[in-house]
Symmetry: C2
Subunit: 204 residues, 2 copies
């Protein structure tokens, strides 16, 4: 079993942190692909993951699983403990809700802000800086909402650490590249950040 | 148990179709909120779903579940049969992968094309038409990829109908509002569309 990734990319980190929390990091081999150089745009890579995104999980059967959350779901189903995607139906739904909020309102706008304001991938897309700047504002606005939410919740989805915290941590850390940081006003978000970034898995 | 939705919106349809496939449509009450008039931007609605998006599931316990896929996951966990999110770990991962591909590469760009080129929500966001046009192109490009994929696969994630097909169907139908339609060249996508749109649940 092998994961093909770009180590510095936030989505790759999400999967490594998830595996580290499960104690599975040493069960998987890692192979690097250089997305800055466009190695993921080759036909060989596209045959593994048609979206050309990283990471992708290569199973021993010859099958491939793309999409970070789908890779996590595979390991969650194979190794349910510790549960990072919930146990009861309500908990599964709440974690899915917060994981998606963290993804659509933080990870995605931070990524779009990066792609559309820095021109990092301008060899393969046309940046629209006005859109990127809006995304930066949207990400900041969601961080303020998260701060208010975390005033009454230990983790994003309640009392239990979950994949939602992993997504949010990786998004907050990646946001530094577009100069978005946790504001001094956001004491609850800062408390959560310190707690989650301090887990051994965060260094995976 | 009640779902608050806007009946004409594609994300609301996804959840209704999912419930119809499970035979659960009559178990849930529906209440309409007018997103065009901005009813979802009220403090009362935001207390139910902080992102202000629809639909949201109101549980009898007083708790709320936002995010269409999180609502679906709740019903999948409570009523596993027929499985729409997979049974084995591999199947769960493959369905999650295709559901996410359909969402990020079709539903989302179609929605962004709509919001950024029509100005439908210009009272609450600043449209960036250049970005919207790019999204339209991205959606078309993904439909071509889907066509190639469906040459060798009955449904998006393999031989079994799943939530990935629901997401893709709702996205393809919604794409008409931005004049994106299945091209005559895409025979496999057209075959799949006819099959999935013909299910009774598609009318839910």
């Amino acid at each position: 079993m092998k994961i093909i990734e770009t180590k510095s990319a936030p989505n790759a980190r999400r999967v490594r942190m998830f595996l580290a929390e499960k104690g599975l990091l040493d069960e998987v081999q890692f192979e690097q692909v250089d997305i800055a150089a466009g190695e993921n745009l080759s036909e060989a890579y596209r045959a593994k993951n048609l979206t050309t995104k990283i990471p992708v999980l290569a199973l021993d059967s010859g099958e491939f699983i793309g999409e970070s959350v789908a890779i996590c779901r595979y390991f969650e189903a194979l190794h349910p403990s510790p549960a990072l995607m919930g146990e009861t139906p309500l908990e599964q739904a709440q974690i899915e809700m917060w994981q998606r909020r963290a993804e659509f309102h933080l990870m995605l706008p931070v990524g779009m802000c990066f792609q559309h304001t820095t021109g990092y991938f301008k060899d393969r897309m046309v940046p629209v800086p006005a859109y990127g700047e809006q995304c930066g504002k949207d990400a900041r606005a969601f961080m303020a909402q998260l701060d208010a939410h975390l005033a009454g919740s230990e983790f994003l989805a309640g009392p239990r650490f979950s994949i939602a915290d992993i997504t949010a941590l990786c998004a907050v850390d990646f946001a530094r590249v577009v100069k978005i940081r946790i504001s001094d006003e956001w004491a609850h978000l800062a408390r959560w950040y310190k707690q989650v970034a301090g887990r051994p898995s965060a260094a995976a």
